[in-house]
Structure formats: C-alpha cells, structure tokens
C-alpha cells in the first residue's frame, strides 16, 4: 500500500513536471505564431522589407521555442500509457479519441507547414508561404482545442456510460464530449492566455532593444503588433476565465472552495483579494482559516453564480452535504461519507456482476447491473477511506489561484499602458524605468500562466476523473523507484534543454537587435514589388 501511494505521488510529480515544462513553451507558440502571421501578412500586403525583417526575426524566436515545445510534448501523450495504465483502459474509449484527432488534424498540419515556414522562403510563392504560416498557427490552435477537450472531460466527464462486462466506460455522445461548456471555456482561456503571454514576450524583448538603444523603430513596431494581440488575449482570457469560474462552481464546487479557502459558505460570499492561510487549519476543527485576509464583499458569489447573493458552498458544507435550494432553505444533499458508502456499494455491485457473469447467471447479472447503475455516480468515492481524502490541497490551490488573478489584473493594466505609450508617448520608452518594467513583466506573465494550470490540476485532486476515478486507482503496475528514476531523468534533461533554449534565444535576440533594420525600405523594393501591392504600411 505504501508503495502504491509512492507510485501515485511520483507519477503525479512526473506528470506535473513534464506538463509544466511543456506549458512553458506552448503558450508562446500559440501566441507568437499569430503575431508572426500578422507581421507576414503586413509584409505580403505592403512588400515592405522592414515587415519582412520583423517577420523573420520573430519567426526565428518562434522556431527556437517551437522545437523544445515539441520535445517536451511527445512524452505527455505516452505518459497516459506508461504511468496511468489503468486510466487508459478505464476511459481510453473516450479519452483516446481527442488525442488521435489532435494528431490527425493538427500535428500533421503543424509539422508540414512549419517546414514551409522555415525552409520555404524562395522555394514557394509569397502567398503560399503566408498561407503556411497561418496554417501553422491554426494547427497549433486546433491542437490545443483537442487537448483541452480531453482535459475538460477529465474535470467534467460527460457523454459516456459504464460497461460492467469490460469494466470500462464507453462513449455514447461524442458531441457532449467535444462541445462541453467546460471544454469551450478552457479552450478560449488557454489560447487567449497564450496570446497574452506572447504579447508580453514581444513587448518585453522590445523593451530590451530600447534598453540597449538598438533598433528602436523595430522595437516600437513590434510593441504595437504584440500589444494588440496581447490586449485581445488578456480581454479574451478574462472573459473565458469568468465562464470557467461559473463552470467550476457548478461541476467542481470542492475545487472552488479550495481556491478561496472557503470552509463555510453561504449566500453573498466574499472574495478574498489578498490573504494568508492558517497553515494548521483542518476542515474539521474550528480554527480560523486565515491569519490575515482582505475581502471583496459578495464578489465570490458574483464570480461563481453571476448573482451577488448567490449561494457558494464551502468545504465543510460539501462534506456535510449541506446546500441551499432555490427558496433559500437549507437542504441536505449527499454527504461525502454517504458518497463513500455508496461508492463502496457500487464496487460491490460490480463485483457481483463479475461473479454472475462468470457463472452465466443472467438474473443475477441484471440485478447487479441495476444496482451498479443506481450507484455508479459515486463509483470513484468507493476508493476513498474518509471524506478528508476528497479535499484538494487547499494551500497550493488557494495561492496559485490568487497569484493568477492578481497577475492577470496586472497584465491587463500593463498591456494597456504599453500600447498607449507606443502610440501616444513613445519617447517614454527611452526611460529606464519603463524599459525595466517591460522586461521584468515577462516573469509575471509566465508565473501567471503556470499558476493557472496549478490551480486547475491541483484543485481537482484527488480525482483523475472527477468523481469516477481517483489518481490512486489510475496508475500503472510499476515500482516507485522506476518512476523516481524517470522523474529525475526528465528533470535533468528538460532543465538542460531549457538552459540551452534560453541561451540560444538570448543570442538570437542580441543578434536581431544588431541587424540593420533602419536602412531597410518600408515601401516595396524592386525585388518584392508587384503592381497590385499596396505601398501603405
């Protein structure tokens, strides 16, 4: 049993490590591909050598980032098999489909057209090249769509039924899986956060150009393009984040309670703006949950239910099965202790079904199947020992959520300010303060981006599939020593590759900053001009 827990913990650690490394690169790919495509569109429309130089500079950085994104991504798909073998059988019938569709629809598109993007200059026409650049961006985006559909399904399992004969879930409604509201909000939230990150990346690198007093015109133009994409990104992120919050309140109320450190909920719940959790607080004691907090009145209710007076349950309310009905009366729902009992009955029913099937006893099979159907909703709870097992790590969930929200608010302000400066007061960019704020904000956007995923994934513990399968039942038949070894190998290799990526990126940025941008013509050169092209930029 101890090694089981160790295997679960190390497998989770390995997945978290590899996923977090991968997510360092994916958002930049999602956003920068669009920024590069916009720049190349401007080049094709105007024939300007300046736009071409800009396109090629950012494309080079895109390529450096893309390669390590691919390298860190391959392992994630296969880890479901290597480390989460039971999961792969239990829900592979549903979960495998989005991964396969992603490969078929998106990966080939990316892999094919990125080759044109990088090696096609001069080999294919300008328009074909531009199409390839847009298709690379499109491929990256639809790739993320299918991954987020898969992830959303783990958090909100829909569109399937359990087949007791095979002891697995089978899909019965593809569109419910593909178009679940959780998936849609997640998709937009992740893609727009990628646009935000890339926008801030472009502004940040451009501020470094200003700091070194190199190619300031190139930097200014980049800030304008990156700023607009970043602004669209952060606005879209906030909008989809709002939708996600409502989803979480509806389908993962325990996660929301952990995100807010809310033990006792109610109507008109307050949102914690800033707070320090009491580290010794347990759900079943009477200690105060916070050492210090600043609240925004009724805002949690507004966020979760779009109603200032909406009911938001706390951790204890959920565990005790207490809720409020539409008339405002307190009602009793299924407590977590009851869920665990029902889950164990569900296991018994499945065991009975298996026995009856082996004995070819149809009547007993029918009875067991009916019992199973009645209790299957809480099947996963049957693996838990006590209600406290169903509470996610509150500290990590709370802090990561609040870091994400605070950083997100800062980034909205940051992008608006830098976009305004770029258009109205570009001389301010020669000031060191503005330069350094621009550069340092890159760290904030990465922290924000990672914190979002930490909230999402830690907050849904202990479930790998909400309510149906805890992580402890999803693992492979391997020892913790094996996973520890691969964990450290991944840690070492990915850290080495990250160091190389950053070093190469810095060199490429430094080289780009020294290019002779100013002397390039902004109107069509003899080489690039064609009679139909506009000369406006």
């Amino acid at each position: 049993m101890n090694d089981l827990i160790n295997v679960v913990d190390w497998s989770r650690a390995q997945f978290a490590l590899t996923a977090m490394f991968h997510w360092l690169f994916v958002p930049l790919t999602l956003g920068l591909s669009v920024i590069v495509a916009v720049m190349e569109s401007a080049y094709v429309r105007t024939g300007s050598a300046k736009w071409l130089a800009l396109t090629k500079f950012w494309m080079k950085l895109f390529g450096i980032n893309f390669a390590i994104g691919v390298a860190t991504g391959i392992i994630l798909e296969f880890e479901f098999g290597t480390n989460w073998s039971n999961y792969s059988w239990f829900v592979g019938d549903i979960f495998g489909a989005p991964l396969a569709i992603e490969g078929l629809l998106a990966f080939f598109m990316e892999a094919t057209f990125i080759a044109v993007m990088f090696f096609g200059w001069g080999k294919v026409s300008k328009r074909f090249h531009l199409t390839a650049t847009w298709l690379t961006a499109f491929g990256a985006t639809i790739s993320s769509a299918w991954i987020l559909i898969a992830n959303a399904w783990m958090q909100y399992p829909v569109g399937m039924e359990f087949d007791p004969a095979q002891m697995r879930n089978i899909m019965d409604d593809f569109w419910a899986v593909a178009l679940s509201p959780v998936a849609i909000h997640k998709f937009f939230h992740a893609v727009f956060s990628g646009w935000t990150l890339a926008g801030v990346f472009v502004i940040s690198v451009s501020c470094w150009f200003y700091l070194r007093k190199r190619n300031e015109a190139m930097a200014l133009r980049s800030i304008k393009v990156g700023g607009w994409i970043g602004l669209a990104g952060i606005v879209g992120t906030l909008w989809s984040g709002d939708g996600s919050a409502v989803d979480v309140a509806r389908v993962q109320p325990m996660k929301l309670a952990a995100m807010e450190g809310l033990y006792h909920g109610g109507r008109g719940a307050d949102l914690i703006a800033v707070g320090v959790l009491n580290p010794s607080k347990e759900y079943d004691d009477e200690q105060e949950p916070f050492l210090f907090e600043t609240k925004l009145p009724n805002m949690l209710s507004l966020l979760a239910t779009h109603d200032l007076n909406g009911y938001v349950p706390g951790i204890n309310d959920l565990i005790d099965g207490i809720s409020i009905d539409e008339n405002g009366d307190t009602v009793k729902t299924v407590s977590y202790a009851e869920r665990i009992a029902i889950g164990k009955q569900s296991h018994e029913a499945l065991r009975a079904y298996d026995k009856a099937r082996a004995a070819n006893d149809t009547a007993a099979m029918d009875k067991a199947a009916a019992d199973l159907k009645a209790t299957f909703q809480y099947f996963g709870y049957g693996y838990l020992d006590s209600p406290s097992d169903a509470i996610p790590p509150v500290g990590l969930t709370f802090y990561s959520f609040h870091i994400m929200v605070l950083a997100g608010g800062y980034l909205l302000l940051f992008i608006i300010v830098y976009l305004t400066i770029a258009y109205k007061k570009s001389s301010w960019l020669t000031n060191r303060w503005w330069q350094w704020i621009g550069i340092i904000s890159l760290v904030i956007v990465y922290v924000c981006s990672q914190a979002g995923w930490v909230t999402d994934e830690v907050g849904r513990q202990p479930w790998i599939i909400e309510g149906l399968m805890p992580t402890r039942a999803a693992i492979s038949f391997i020892s913790s020593g094996m996973v520890q070894l691969t964990f450290w190998l991944f840690a070492a290799i990915f850290t080495g590759l990250l160091a190389a990526e950053i070093s190469i990126m810095l060199k490429a940025i430094a080289n780009g900053s020294k290019s002779d941008y100013d002397s390039l013509p902004d109107s069509p050169s003899a080489e690039t001009q064609s009679p139909t092209q506009s000369t406006k930029s």
Binding site: S85, F107, M171, I493
Partner: protein
C-alpha cells in the same frame, strides 16, 4: 460482416498504414546514424539539411501512431506502455533529444556544442530504429503480461494490466527474436537514407557524393537483406495464438504467420510485390550510376511489406500481442478495441486522412522541387 468486426478490421488497417509509413519515414533516423562519421564537412552539412526538413514528419507520425492506437485499441496502450515501461521510455527519451537537435545544433549559444546535438541525433537514429523494431516484433514474439479486469476492484492494487517480468521491457530488448527485427529496421533505414540523399541532394562535386551514397546503399542494403531474411525465417516458422469467436485466445497454432500469409493470399501477394520493389529500389539505386529514384521503389515497397507484417499479426483470428505469461490475456483486435460507438466516430474522422496525405504530398513536392545543394544551404538563414 458484423459492423463492429468491420470497424475493428478497418482500424487495424489504419494502424497498419501509420506503422508502415512510420517505418518508411525512419529513413530520417537512418540518416542520423550516417552523417556523424562523415569526415567531409560539406557532405555532412548537406545530409543534415536534407534530413532537417523532414524530421518532423517521422516524429509526428510516431505521435499519431500512438494516439490512433490509444483511441482504437486502448487495452494495448495500457498494457504495452504501462508494462514495457523501459522500452518505451528509452524510445521516448531518444525522440525528445531529436526534437531539439536539428534546431539547436548550429545555433550560437547552444551551450552543449554541435557535437553533443549530433550525438543525440545519432543515438535517436540507432535507438529509435532498433527499439521501435523491437516494439513491433513483440507483436509476434509476445510480452510477459497478464490482464485481469477485476483487479480494478482491488483497492490496494487496482491495476488491470500487469507486466510479470521484473525487466519491464528490458527483457524484450535482449530477446534475439525481437532484435532481429530491430536491426532489420536499422539497416533498412540506413539504406533508405542513402537512397533519399541520392534523390534529394546535388553536391556539385562531380558525382563523388552520389557515388559514396550508392556504396552506402549497397553495403547497408546487403546487411539489411541478411537480417530481413533471418527475421522472416523465424517469423514464418513461429507458432502463435489463434483466437475464437469471443475474441480471446483458444489455441496455439504452429506456423501461424506462414498460414496467415497463405490463407490470406492477397497479403502474401502484397508481401512479394513489396519485397520485389524494395530489392529493385536498392539494387538499381546502388548499381545504376545515374539513377536517383530508388527511394520511391524502396519506400513504397517498405510500406507494402510492413503492412503485411501488421496484417498477419492482427487479422485471421491472430493474437497481435501474445502474452507469454498467460495465453488468455493475449490481445486480439477483437478483445482490445474501443467500443463500436467510438470506432464509428473515429472512422468518420479518418475520412480526413486523404486530405492530410494530399497536402503532405503537395508540400513535399513543392519543397523538394529544388534539391539541397551547397549553395542552397549557404543561402538559407535557417539552415541547420
């Protein structure tokens, strides 16, 4: 034919196609084992830049092969990947190293130096080919696993698919049956890399590079043929499990794969056509001094031969993943597939495959119209 059986057959066909195309595309890996020991800098640069435009295709095909297997035969995914842990992890580590190496090897500031990245590519070339060959060979020669679905209800130890061997895949790597296919794939990939270079590169050196590639084709081609014949000899004399109406294994059948080639005569014919095309491609590619199209014959032939290997592994009531530990745990395309509903959905999605193949072919054609030359490498800002 029952719809479910039809769709299981159809999805095994798609898996076969992806597997066959992947083996062809492993010429990229084969090429990676060649350039490291090339002493001529120009030739090395030409080879790297020729492969550098294609590596993502083999990489992507591997990923899609995995995803398609997951969606259509999830029990294989949970059994093989979770069981032969080390085999798959070593393969994956080698592909991780490949993915950055082309892009980073010649970039300023790459920390570890060009030789390190070239070594990564060499390792991926050898390990990728040999171990993917081993993984496919296990479809014939088996793995040491048990599948017990009721384990799901054993809370302290709930895993359904269990690898019995302590080696967790290492034992498969040292099984000489499996290694025969591993080395067959390696030398096929090296042979086809030479043929690809002949087709894709114009070294402008009076034909010396091309002549060297032709010598490489011949030398690697001969070794490949020896390994291939040995593998086929073992395969065709091997027994394997036959499944019954339930989809589970009912008996062991001597000469199972030979019988499959004979009873499914079209598979046998495809094998012969494929072998002839490979031999023609290699033979003419190596011996005809001006011939540049050997890769196409050899490549298409490879796809056909590998298709037949998958077909005899999975069709005709054969266990495509035989269990050496417990015969009844063996996987067949009937007892390990996704549900009828999922296979139907995925079959609709698979209608996009011709479009995907179409644009890949178009882009390949557009990009390869101009061969790689010393001048093109010099002019290209993105060269590796």
């Amino acid at each position: 034919m029952d719809e479910y059986i039809f769709l299981q057959n159809y999805w095994w066909l798609l898996i076969s196609i992806l597997g066959a195309v992947l083996v062809f595309l492993l010429f990229v890996q084969g090429g990676q084992t060649l350039f490291m020991f090339c002493s001529n800098d120009t030739y090395r640069s030409l080879m790297i830049n020729s492969l550098g435009q294609k590596w993502e295709l083999s990489f992507t095909t591997l990923v899609v092969f995995g995803g398609a297997f997951f969606a259509s035969f999830p029990l294989f995914y949970s059994t093989s990947f979770g069981g032969a842990y080390w085999l798959w992890m070593i393969i994956l580590f080698s592909f991780i190293m490949q993915a950055v190496s082309y892009e980073y090897r010649s970039k300023p500031g790459n920390i570890f130096g060009t030789t390190t990245y070239d070594t990564f590519l060499f390792i991926n070339g050898c390990v990728g080919c040999i171990l993917l060959g081993v993984a496919v060979a296990m479809m014939f020669f088996g793995g040491e696993f048990e599948v017990t679905r009721s384990n799901l209800l054993d809370a302290p130890s709930p895993v359904i698919s269990r690898w019995v061997s302590e080696g967790h895949g290492i034992e498969a790597i040292f099984n000489w049956h499996n290694l025969l296919l591993g080395f067959t794939v390696l030398f096929l990939a090296r042979t086809q890399a030479n043929l690809y270079f002949i087709n894709n590169i114009r070294a402008d050196d009076g034909g010396r590079f091309m002549a060297a590639c032709k010598r490489g084709t011949l030398a690697n081609g001969i070794i490949f043929v020896v390994f291939f014949l040995a593998f086929m000899g073992v395969l065709l004399t091997s027994a394997s499990y036959r499944s019954g109406g339930s989809g589970n294994v009912v008996a062991i059948e001597p000469y199972k794969y030979l019988n499959n080639y004979i009873s499914m005569w079209w598979v046998g014919v495809t094998l012969i056509i494929g072998v002839v095309m490979v031999l023609y491609g290699i033979g003419r590619g190596a011996l005809d001094r001006t011939y540049r199209s050997g890769i196409w014959f050899s490549g298409i032939g490879t796809v056909l031969v590998v298709l037949t290997l998958f077909w005899v592994a999975g069709y005709n009531d054969t266990a495509y993943y035989p269990s050496l530990a417990d015969a009844t745990s063996s996987l067949t395309i009937r007892n390990s597939s996704s549900s009828l509903f999922t296979l139907k959905v995925m079959s609709w999605v698979s209608l996009i495959v011709p479009v995907v193949l179409g644009y890949i072919a178009y882009v390949w054609y557009s990009m390869n119209r101009k061969p790689v030359t010393p001048q093109s490498v010099k002019d290209d800002n993105e060269s590796h």
